[in-house]
Assembly symmetry: C2
Homo-oligomer: 321 residues x 2
Amino acid sequence: MPKIRSIAPCNELNTSSMNAPTQPEAAFSIAAVERDTGLAKDTLRVWERRYGFPAPSRDANGERLYPTEQVEKLRLIRRLIDHGRRPAGIVGASVQELSEMLDGCLCPNVSATGRCDDGLLELVRLHRSAELAAALRQTLLKQGLQRFVADTIAPLAAAVGEAWMRGEVDVAEEHLFTEQVQNVLRGAIGTHAANGGRPRVLLTTFPEEEHVLGLLMVEAMLVPEGASCLSLGTRTPLADIRSAAMSGGFDIVGLSFSIAYPARQAIDGLLALREMLPPALDIWAGGAAVRDKQKRLPGIQVVGGLDDTLAALQDWRTRHP
Amino acid sequence: MPKIRSIAPCNELNTSSMNAPTQPEAAFSIAAVERDTGLAKDTLRVWERRYGFPAPSRDANGERLYPTEQVEKLRLIRRLIDHGRRPAGIVGASVQELSEMLDGCLCPNVSATGRCDDGLLELVRLHRSAELAAALRQTLLKQGLQRFVADTIAPLAAAVGEAWMRGEVDVAEEHLFTEQVQNVLRGAIGTHAANGGRPRVLLTTFPEEEHVLGLLMVEAMLVPEGASCLSLGTRTPLADIRSAAMSGGFDIVGLSFSIAYPARQAIDGLLALREMLPPALDIWAGGAAVRDKQKRLPGIQVVGGLDDTLAALQDWRTRHP
DNA sequence: TGATCCAGTTTGTCCTGGACAAACCAGGGG
DNA sequence: CCCCTGGTTTGTCCAGGACAAACTGGATCA
């Protein structure tokens, strides 16, 4: 099983542990880098062979030790590849240049998502979790669930995601945000008693996708419309999606794909799922990875944004009176 | 990055796609098996070399193709290893024998956790999500949050976990259960307004641990006592736990470890974290992986069960009047 | 009895260097 | 404009060797 040899950064000089607020020469094993960057061990080795980067030092036993700054740079490269760049063209660039490229990639997104509440984003940055939770609940009450999701949570999630890509928020802040939003949304969803209304929708993600907020936002849009949603959470194998969908009398299966999900894999998986399910069962796919891919996804309803979810629901109800 | 070449089981004969409700000779790539079993690619290859199992066939390109039944057997073996068995002694056994060994491992657990509500477990098995959610909420109202968690959710989670190990519930059923419990617990936790009470507790898990229910149960036990809990969810790197704990004025950091978490890794990580944090900051560790490990964890409070959480809280308050 | 130590064995992870198919790109025809 | 086609890039897989950490089963000591 994929055991990690060492959780903490390895450091040959960490015998002096008392006065080291941040490790000066921390270095990570290849397994730790795989976990932190999402780049497979094989990929890390083959990049080193081909491009000369990363260039880790070695420990006494000849095993790679990646210094912190190389891991940071790998993270930036990973983000750029998610945005369509290719390794050969960017591994040689400096951290400075990579950051500028990321800004270039992100600006169109910022303008597309529009303004988001900077006050809430600031609460995330300051770790003010209690205030964040209170502010979210207050906004929810003021706006109602659907507008809250579409106008507040979605832009805020996009802003946090972008800040995370730029390295402006850290893991803890991103987790804090996700947890607080989950608490609020799940509480709100739970207050809507399941009434057995149609359509019956099964929501989940493919096994490699672990972002849950997309699913929750869709559920929050559909439940007030009287649809019956069942979420399986993230990371459900294809075969289990199939068996769950067949056994529950569902009308629609909804899949969510974050921006980091490889588009090709999403398309392959969706087409495979389409083959497995009866044609009467609709498949909806949403999220950044499948946006604008409708023409490559025959038989599948691509939902571009949260508002389109409601349009798709209307459409389904028109076709099934 | 760890791209998966094919999500669906590969099948050399799947040109006839119309009449194949379940693939007769489905076979999985090594990456798919890694994902499904949690056994690293390197481990799968070295087992084949050393023990002669698994013994995958090869495709036209010489790459391994694992048939379904071998993947099933690997899953059983993985469970037994999580329970302390070692590969050499069990890879030769039949599926039948492996199942019996699992029964032997599980019986003591069943007796230890005591009876759980079979009605709720049955709802999980039947995919009756709406009824499950309603029954959970009703039980919550009747018992109150703390007794609900300790007497209903904890035994139920243990029962689902055991049934999952035996293969009696599938991925979808386990996900459904987790989602519904999350909805109920997060809703209940959210109704307790954060009042800034002491102690302030930071809750999370190490990066390889993705089970979230343990955290939620602890939070549900502490919040009614007036403690201020902040959960970062699962999979937080050690360095980020440290920075979050230092910046928020916390009194306690709580970590949760499921039964599948390697005990050695938990101990190493906890001791490393203990070094990183100021001594005045308490560390609490709970879950099956650290039970009975108190003597190997100096400076760390091992919390044996949910009820012990309350005892530990009392203890903390006595020491900090 | 129970804890601690020690040789021997088991086991997971990492290494090198080679190979190849799928994805991507650029440049013509239709 | 779209579709095909040949060359390049890129991620993943393979084999087989190596080694440190973890475990086992005894022997020793309190």
